[in-house]
Amino acid sequence: MERLITNYYETASIILFGIGFATLLLHSNLIKKIIGMNIMDTSVMLFLIAKGYIQGNVAPIIVDEFKGVSEYVNPIPTSLMLTGIVVAVSTTALALALTIKMYEKYGTIELNEILEKGDE
């Protein structure tokens, strides 16, 4: 139990993942499902960025002089997550555009009503 509290970044990340997943499954409004998907992606990024933090070191930007390798935080997870953020944004954009098209065709964005209408 103490391990869960000392690694509080990872615990928060898993709780956020659970919240996002529950939002994705339980709400029937399409916009809320897309918000749930975004929360899940953000929680995975938080997990990986938190893995790069080393206690007591500073951000990896050269201000006055180069201080040697052991004074900086690990920069690799941050740069990997830049790609992840771009991917999440483009997936959200495509999903929102598809939601607009569904509203034009079906007239509603609640998933229950769409499933009933779609069987006609």
Partner: protein, 490 residues
């Protein structure tokens, strides 16, 4: 001849460059011509690379000027080259067929966009197959996500958009789980390159007993959602049945397989045999695979729409592939790759045949297709031969896979599995054969129809015929292909 070493990379780059020139071109016929040229160039490049690798052995190809743990590298071996040749060949045939039939499915102004998406999709699948770096594979998976959702929704009807949105959300869930698995592996070992992760995991896996099980679970569920493992396959029938014909052929025969290849790479190149045999992951894959085989066929029997039947049969065939991985022996992995090759050729021929039948007769349900054999004899004959392969008639690749899987399950001493293989073959016959039999032999209803009235010209049936000839080649030459794959794994 060191320039041959760069051929895989040049192939992928050519696909992407030609993809991005397409929005500038106004004439549709030039766009189609460019797409076919790009796929045939890739096929020639990959065949030369395959011959080079058979003579000289596999090699690592570094990208840019940075060496292995700092930079990205490609690993080119025999299995990767064989699968790349398969992908290039099938996409060439499908895009040749789609030159004639794409106007019936989508709007005229969206044709350059469609070919752009197909090029990007096939390029990203080749990237997944070749790459040796975990995060590089994740980037290619995301590109493939967006492109494959694009080719489902490009046809603007209601059910396409609903199916496309469901596919997009479930795929995004899957790749989020894969990213979490990559994060776990990075935090355990500190490397992102597959060979380096393997070396440092061998030294230190005793320290992380539960973390390895969690990682394997995350990867299996994430890749299982994207490649339609049994309980996670719910997006597949809608997406594959409402998409345009050529895009459902590419989706069902190529896209699902690339993720299975990535799962094979993780199980055997990153983790290695000792770590896997301590965890129950192979038994879980075996159980889920056999459930998929039986439930896929049972659900297919209740469908009335022709394309949905073929889509559910894809779920059953992916069950075969996971079953072969789950057996755990070397022959299992060889048969998995052989079944990938056989199923890809067969399923694309089936989808193209059914697409041309639906387009010419404007009927989608099988009860309305009685007597279609009189109007389109050649197309229905090709459909019949391809469905025989899935049932398991000798001389065709389906029979060879089932035979070797049965031998392998005797070797592992689990005789119950032979009953499952036989049961799924019978169920396959129950829903495929009535389509062809009703098409050819129903005399009283087809009295009013004229012979060969709605047949397509020979020029348009050529791609399907070449695919069926390739299927015969794969089935007859099975010994050679299996020995080739065995030398790669030994």
């Amino acid at each position: 001849m060191t320039i041959i070493k760069s051929f895989p990379l040049i192939g992928v780059l050519i696909l992407y460059l030609i993809a991005f020139i397409m929005p500038l071109i106004k004439k549709n016929s030039l766009v189609k011509f460019l797409s076919v040229i790009s796929f045939s160039t890739c096929l020639i490049l990959f065949i030369t690379c395959l011959r080079y690798v058979i003579y000289n052995g596999s090699y690592f190809y570094k990208i840019g000027h940075f060496d292995a743990p700092y930079g990205i590298e490609f690993k080119i071996g025999i299995i990767e080259c064989v699968i790349a040749v398969l992908f290039a060949f099938i996409s060439l045939m499908v895009s040749w067929y789609s030159c004639y039939s794409i106007e019936h499915d989508i709007d005229e102004r969206k044709i350059p966009l469609y070919y752009l998406l197909i090029n990007i999709l096939v390029g990203s699948l080749l990237g997944i197959v070749f790459s040796n770096d975990m995060f590089n594979v994740y980037v290619f998976i995301e590109i493939g996500n967006l492109a494959s959702c694009g080719i489902v929704v490009v046809k603007g009807k209601k059910e396409n958009i609903k199916a496309g949105l469901k596919y997009l959300i479930m795929s995004c869930l899957g790749s989020g789980l894969v990213l979490m698995g990559i994060a776990f592996l990075y935090s355990m070992t500190g490397h992102l390159n597959m060979t380096y992760i393997h070396e440092s995991l061998i030294k230190s896996y005793m320290n992380y007993p539960q973390a390895i099980i969690i990682t394997l679970g995350l990867f299996t569920v994430g890749l299982g959602v994207k490649s339609a493992l049994f309980p996670l396959h719910t997006w597949l029938p809608d997406a594959h049945s409402s998409a345009p014909t050529s895009s459902s052929a590419i989706l069902s025969s190529l896209v699902l397989k690339a993720y299975v290849i990535f799962l094979l790479k993780i199980l055997y190149r990153v983790m290695g045999k000792e770590i896997i045999f301590n965890t129950p992951i192979l038994n879980i894959l075996l159980i889920l695979g056999s459930l998929g085989m039986i439930m896929g066929s049972i659900l297919a029997m209740f469908q009335k729409d022709l394309k949905r039947i073929i889509a559910y049969s894809s779920v059953a065939q992916i069950g075969y592939i996971y079953f072969a991985i789950g057996l755990g022996t070397e022959l299992g992995v060889v048969m998995c790759i052989y079944h990938i090759i056989g199923h890809a050729v067969t399923k694309s021929a089936l989808f193209l045949c059914s697409g041309s039948i639906i387009e010419k007769t404007c009927q989608k349900e099988i009860t309305n297709l009685i007597g279609v054999g009189k109007e389109m004899p050649y197309t229905l004959a090709l459909f019949f031969i391809s469905s025989l392969s899935l049932v398991g008639i000798p001389l065709l690749p389906g029979f060879v896979s089932k035979w070797y899987l049965a031998i392998d399950s005797i070797g592992v001493n689990k005789l119950l599995l032979i009953i499952i293989i036989l049961a799924s073959s019978l169920l396959n016959a129950v829903y495929y054969l009535p389509i062809s039999i009703n098409g050819f032999f129903d005399e009283e209803n087809s009295g009013g129809k004229i012979y060969k009235s709605k047949e397509k010209t020979i020029k348009e049936l050529m791609p399907i015929a070449i695919l069926v000839i390739a299927m015969f080649y794969v089935g007859i030459n099975s010994e050679g292909i299996i020995n080739l794959i065995k030398t790669a794994l030994a």
